[in-house]
């Protein structure tokens, strides 16, 4: 029986984070949102942190 291919969680989490981050940036650039450093910095740090966390946890498995 053929085994299902294992999902690469790091790529999955990083991809989802980047899509969400990109959508926020798109809304800002199109004028629907007005982002400042006060709102953007936590989002950027959270995005990078989530990717690093996924990378680190992915290595432990």
């Amino acid at each position: 029986m053929r085994r299902a291919r294992e999902i690469d969680r790091t790529s999955l989490v990083a991809g989802l984070v980047l899509v969400a981050f990109g959508v926020v940036l798109l809304l800002d650039r199109s004028g629907a949102l007005r982002l400042t450093f006060g709102t953007m910095a936590p989002m950027a740090f959270a995005a990078v942190g989530a990717i690093l966390l996924a990378t680190g946890l992915g290595r432990r498995e």
Binding site: D8, L18, L25, T36, F37
Partner: protein, 367 residues
């Protein structure tokens, strides 16, 4: 009676001199601290603290660590046969390159105090990038470590180029397209996750996304040209209500202008750089500005940081001209002064605060 032992005394094999090796078990980066701690019989944590302290005090710690990483073998390798001639050649090549770099850069004071510190950080950054992308520790033979560091640095340079391109494209109005590329890269990563993954794509995607985020947060608009520009209207008809520059230095010199009493609106907009408005002594200036990242200096008042919302409302006495300045700066500095010489002298811009002329003296009251 004389007795002798029947068992022959077999001489113990000579263990040879104790060898300094990197530890393959007790390691954070390359096992240098663990190996040195074991060799000298001290706690490896103390060795690591020493490396960090030396790295902060002139950068010597980075150089010593990098040299140990290249030249000291792992303990697993020490038990094996001697290292290959190729690895030894790589190590010697790196050492020769460092010596040549030292001769090129001149004094060793500069070398250890200046050039090697960023070089050391670059090598460590390359190894960190390699670790992030490949998931493999930066250990192994010197040749392997050098190769991985070089690949990491190459990726880092490529991502740097992407980041610069993203910054300018976003600042010049292509932010929607750049955001679309980020979303597409994210979608590609999600799709690739089900067919083995594409971790190599994470770093380039971040290199595109983060500059766009910076441009968005700071509100940087690079349209309006690049370089240094000086505007010096001599008559009221030459005075525009708005001046704009993408990046560089914009000087609006109003000192030749005789402004009649009343309000005179002026907008100054700069994406990244320095905007300087020079006004006559007898003109009152009321100012407001938004600055993404940077500062505002209006005569003897100043403010700065991120998301700066500046307001300095002033009233002018009757029969006095008032310049109502509205500034918009993405990244940089907006300054208002009576005299430019304060920026050109050797003492720097802060010297202006000691000058009695640099006051908004034509205004009636401060609010």
């Amino acid at each position: 009676m004389e007795t002798t032992s029947d068992t022959p005394v077999t001489p113990q094999p000579d263990p040879g001199p104790r060898r300094l090796t990197r530890s393959s078990r007790d390691r954070i980066i390359g096992g240098v601290g663990g190996g040195m701690g074991r060799y000298f019989g001290i706690d490896p944590t103390l060795v690591r603290i020493g490396f960090v302290a030396l790295a902060l005090l002139g950068g010597t710690g980075l150089v010593v660590y990098a040299a140990a990483l290249l030249l000291v073998p792992l303990d697993d390798e020490a038990a094996d046969a001697p290292r290959s001639a190729r690895d030894r050649g790589v190590a010697i090549g790196v050492a020769v390159a460092l010596i040549i770099a030292g001769l090129v850069f001149g004094s060793f004071g500069f070398l250890f105090g200046g050039a090697l510190v960023p070089l050391g950080f670059l090598v460590l950054a390359g190894l960190a990038v390699w670790w992030l992308v490949s998931g493999e520790r930066p250990s192994g033979s010197p040749g392997t470590v050098v190769r991985r560091a070089a690949q990491g640095i190459g990726l880092l340079i490529g991502c740097g180029a992407l980041a610069v391109a993203s910054f300018f494209a976003s600042g010049l109005g292509g932010g929607v397209v750049v955001a679309g590329i980020v979303i597409a890269a994210g979608a590609a990563l999600v799709a690739a996750a089900f067919v083995g993954g594409a971790r190599w794509l994470v770093l380039p995607a971040l290199a595109i996304a983060l500059p766009l985020a910076f441009v968005s947060a700071a509100g940087i608009d690079l349209n309006g040209g690049f370089g240094d520009r000086t505007e010096r209207p001599a008559t009221l008809s030459e005075l525009q209500q708005s001046y704009r520059l993408g990046a560089g230095e914009l000087v609006v010199d109003l000192r030749d202008l005789e402004l009649p009493s009343g309000d005179h609106p002026l907008k100054v907009r700069i994406g990244a750089g320095h905007a300087l408005v020079l006004v006559p002594d007898d003109v009152c200036v009321a100012s407001s500005a938004t600055v993404g990242a940077g500062g505002v200096d209006v005569f003897d008042r100043s403010g700065g940081g991120l998301d700066v919302d500046w307001s300095d409302g002033r009233r002018a006495p009757k029969d006095t001209a008032r310049l109502v300045l509205e500034g918009d700066v993405g990244l940089g500095l907006l300054e208002v002064a009576h005299n430019r010489s304060h920026y050109d002298n050797d003492h720097g811009p802060w010297d202006r605060y000691n000058d009695a002329n640099e006051r908004n003296a034509a205004c009636a009251t401060a609010t």
